[in-house]
């Protein structure tokens, strides 16, 4: 169910569009000649093996890295995202895989970092109320928002990072493995949230290794392999198809494990 | 006026030389004990820090000192201390270094400028006597004290004057940060590379920097070491003089000056006006002339005046040299 060429998506102008993006780190080429379009009101899932370059791509879109070559257009205008502030100004909100929280600040301060209410006289009460609301919306289980982030559990931190990105009114939202550390309930809430956000007309990029989640919410699935585009799929694509595109081989660890467990079960049933 | 139980403070500037703790302070205390047994002497050393000295000054006044003997770290900065003290009725005796900007109640000192002049002049004379020609590009090196030390500035001025008594050029001049001998050594080593045997002598502002210069010559394999001056008559330097590595140093029998200061202090306590020999910077003053010590007069100035004992100086390695100079 791979989309051979996707002229249908070019009918409306993408919010954000990448062409020929490459990124080298010393002797390693993390990205080579990658193209990507993000439309408003659409969830693009970005999948790929470990080290495929997904986070690098997101960091380039978020202004955290500069691409080695390639062009980015936003609303049809070529832009250079020289730093994260530039990306934020364009309305690109990002949840990074490494979360990028300040461990020494408390939860409220982290959520509002860079966007504090009343710069000259911080309004702690309003910020705290707003923070609780956001966290409750995400079913977060954080005992106190006045503890430094250093003392939070992995999932609690991830929730904080997601709450951060909901604060501003973005045009595009980039989520780099947003549910990796979340509990089942929190994951469900985040998926709900992603759908709500899409319905409000935002462009969403979601990276995930969980194929169920990806197929549940994505409108389009873009596969990266070893830093290159490796096909675009619709959510209806089978697991097998996707995994093959991701690992680059029909016979991969997933399929082998699938066979093995199936055999074991069969063996177990006929003792 | 009854002075029993009064408090007197004795404030010294730094640790650059051991004399303050080894000679001045004991000398002062001993004389005070003689003159006023029940008087209390407060002693503090400012470790070459102006602000520390100000704190110490304020502190002794808080403790009720009526007379302060002050050897200022920075002569200019001391002016305000004197000013404040006098406003509170506390008398100040300038000690060792003058306080030019404000009239202290008395000034007792060796003259630092005179010291600089004396060592330089003594060196010049020695060179002349040896028949070292001042022609061509030969000359002397000048190693001054710390660039941030006012006393070093006075000595430096004196050295300049002293060198004018001869016609030897100054090849190069150096302000030694913190009086550190190792800095002096490094600098001297560089000059030795630069000038080689054109260096006929070194005027160093104290024994530590002089010792550094000597070490540099030794390290460069220069033999014999050209005459190097010093100042303070530390044991180490006297030993070098005995061994013939250092040419001269200055003996300041500080106990005498300290005793004089104690005398003045007691008179001031009693409300008397101490009589002055001269006036310097508008201040009634009593100045002592220090003695230049070389091999010739070492026995007379140091041993005979009981400033150091032969036993202290003539440790095994210097015993032979001592014998030559007639010191047992």
């Amino acid at each position: 169910m791979a989309i051979p060429d996707a002229p249908s998506t070019t009918s409306r102008q993408p919010v954000l569009s990448l062409r020929g993006i490459s990124k080298n780190f010393g002797a390693v080429s993390a990205l080579t000649d990658v193209d990507l379009d993000i439309n408003a009101g659409e969830i693009v899932a970005l999948v790929g093996d470990n080290g495929a370059g997904k986070s690098t791509l997101v960091k380039i879109l978020a202004g955290a890295h500069m691409p080695s070559s390639g062009s980015i257009t936003f609303d049809g205008q070529p832009v250079t995202l020289a730093n994260p502030a530039a990306a934020l100004k364009l309305g690109i909100a990002t949840v990074f895989q490494d979360l990028a929280l300040c461990e020494n600040l408390d939860v409220v301060a982290n959520i509002f970092l860079g966007r504090e209410l009343h710069p000259l006289r911080l309004d702690e009460v309003s910020m705290e109320v707003r923070a609780w609301k956001l966290l409750n919306e995400l079913s977060a289980r954080i005992p106190s928002v006045r503890e430094p982030v250093a003392s939070l559990s992995g999932g609690q931190r991830q929730t904080v990072a997601i709450a951060r990105s909901l604060l501003m009114e973005p045009r595009v939202i980039l989520l780099d493995e947003p549910t990796a550390a979340l509990g089942v309930a929190q994951t469900a809430e985040v998926l709900n949230l992603i759908e709500r956000v899409r319905d409000r007309g935002l462009g969403v990029v979601m990276i995930s290794h969980n194929m169920e989640d990806v197929r549940a919410v994505a409108d389009r699935i873009v596969v990266l392999r070893l830093g290159r585009n490796n096909g675009i799929f619709l959510p209806g694509a089978s697991n097998q198809e996707l995994v093959t595109a991701i690992t680059g081989a029909d016979d991969n660890a997933v399929s082998r494990r699938g066979r093995r467990t199936a055999e074991a079960r069969a063996g177990g049933e006929q003792p | 006026q009854d002075i029993a139980g009064s408090t007197v403070a004795f404030l010294m500037p730094d640790q650059g030389s051991t004399r303050y703790e080894e000679h001045d302070h004991p000398g002062f205390v001993a004389e005070m004990k003689k003159l006023c047994d029940s008087c209390k002497v407060l002693y503090l050393n400012a470790d070459a820090d102006v602000t520390k000295q100000q704190q110490q000054f304020n502190s002794v006044i808080t403790q009720g000192a009526k007379v302060v003997v002050l050897d200022p770290v920075d002569s200019a900065a001391a002016a305000s201390l004197v000013h404040n003290a006098q406003a509170q009725g506390v008398k100040v005796i300038a000690y060792d270094r003058p306080i030019p900007d404000t009239k202290a109640d008395f000034y007792v000192s060796f003259d630092n400028k005179a010291i600089g002049k004396a060592i330089a002049a003594s060196l010049v004379e020695h060179l002349k006597a040896k028949g070292v020609s001042s022609d061509g590009d030969v000359g002397v090196l000048q190693i001054n004290g710390s660039p941030t030390d006012a006393a070093a500035g006075l000595i430096k001025d004196g050295i300049h004057e002293g060198l004018k008594t001869g016609s030897y050029k100054t090849l190069a001049e150096f302000d030694t940060p913190n009086w550190a001998p190792s800095n002096a050594q490094q600098w001297a080593a560089g000059q030795i590379s630069r000038f080689g045997n054109k260096i006929v002598g070194v005027v160093a502002a104290n024994d530590g920097t002089g010792g550094g210069a000597i070490a540099a010559f030794k390290a460069a394999g220069v033999d014999p070491v050209p005459p190097v001056t010093g100042n303070d008559a530390t044991i180490a330097a006297l030993q070098l003089v005995i061994a013939g590595d250092q040419y001269n140093t200055i003996s300041k029998p500080s106990e005498i000056v300290a005793a004089a200061a104690a005398n003045v202090a007691v008179q001031l306590l009693k409300g008397e006006t101490p009589k002055a020999e001269t006036t310097l910077y508008d201040t009634p003053s009593q100045l002592f002339v220090p003695a230049v010590v070389t091999q010739e007069n070492l026995k007379a100035e140091i041993i005979d005046k009981k400033i150091q004992t032969a036993a202290q100086l003539c440790t095994d390695r210097y015993a032979e040299g001592c014998k030559k100079l007639g010191i047992e």
Partner: protein, 416 residues
Amino acid sequence: MTVSDRNPGALLDRGDERLKDRSGAKGAIQGFLDRVRSGDLGSLPVVVGLVLICTIFQTLNPVFLSPNNLVNLLFDCSTVGIISLGIVCVLMVGEIDLSVGSVSGLASALLGVLWVQWGWPVALAIVAAMAVGFVTGCVYALLLNRLGMPSFVSTLSGLLAFLGLQLYILGPTGSINLPYDSPMVDFGQLLVMPYWVSHTLAVVPGVLGLFLGYRKAQRRRAAGLSSRSLGGLLLQAVAMTLVLELVTYYLNQSRGVPWMFALFVGLVVAMNYALKRTQWGRSMTAVGGNREAARRAGINVRLIYTSAFALCATLAATGGLLSAARLATASQQAGTGDVNLNAIAAAVIGGTSLFGGRGSAYSALLGIIVIQSIASGLTLLDLSSSLRYMITGCVLAIAVIVDSLARRSRVSHGRA
């Protein structure tokens, strides 16, 4: 979106059942004990260390706590304290400024030359000296931002270069005396508050604390958040006012509270406000905690560095001007010696981390008081320099050990 398993009717921030109840007087005491056990005591341990030091010195020489000596102490704290306040700024962003001593020396030299020698109006000379400090800080920040030069190295270069400059501009004359009767020198040496002013000011923190605390509690209650009880606020306000009034009364037995110290405390309070209650301060803390995270949050990290260095160097210059006033001299020695180390040590002893992201303006105040108390206490004992050095070292260690012990238990509770 309803969260089914929160305690019904609980306050917004008290919903988690794992949180122990900490409301009411018993809760407050329990909370305090908890904090003692987990070492989360803020600056209390340093205060305990300070009390320890004071007790020892007082028993050794009763002059130590005499009002007169304390007034001297306050005068002496102010100059290096202000420099230390600047150091807190650069430490907050995880950098260092080794040149504060030299910059302060340069500022005092400039004051002497411009005001006394060249005859500029004193205000202009002050502004010029502070401007030089400001520019210096900007240059350090530029070197860091554009060339990535570690501040340790750039400020070390500055340390040397400015010491040279100080000597150079004082060169021909050496130290320069400032006129005794000028307001500047008076400020540094004599000016104290009239009694009524000091007593009035001593009431302010308590009243303000009560007022603001009450308003905040009201707003929090309205927003459904937990809030402090009025009783607790009142208790705190009364205690604070009592202590301050007592101290003021005691100091007024002698000369009184120096205006210079008031300036220092004013700057500390202002800095504390700026660091804790403004976006700028939040950004400073964030940059010090995780530079990359701050950058990704859209904070202009370069600007933050620039502001930190500029503020530090400007405060250093201010400190230099005040110490010139205190000495009534633009001295060649100004800013040399221990100024650097004392300024940095004060901040660190007060609890500001050398590694960035953790600290407070009050650490400068506390730290410098500790350092000056030790210095002052030792001048009251008749000791040779060698002994004084040794004892200073040991007492310093003791003063900090209390704090370290408290923090150690904090680490073992997993929140280093």
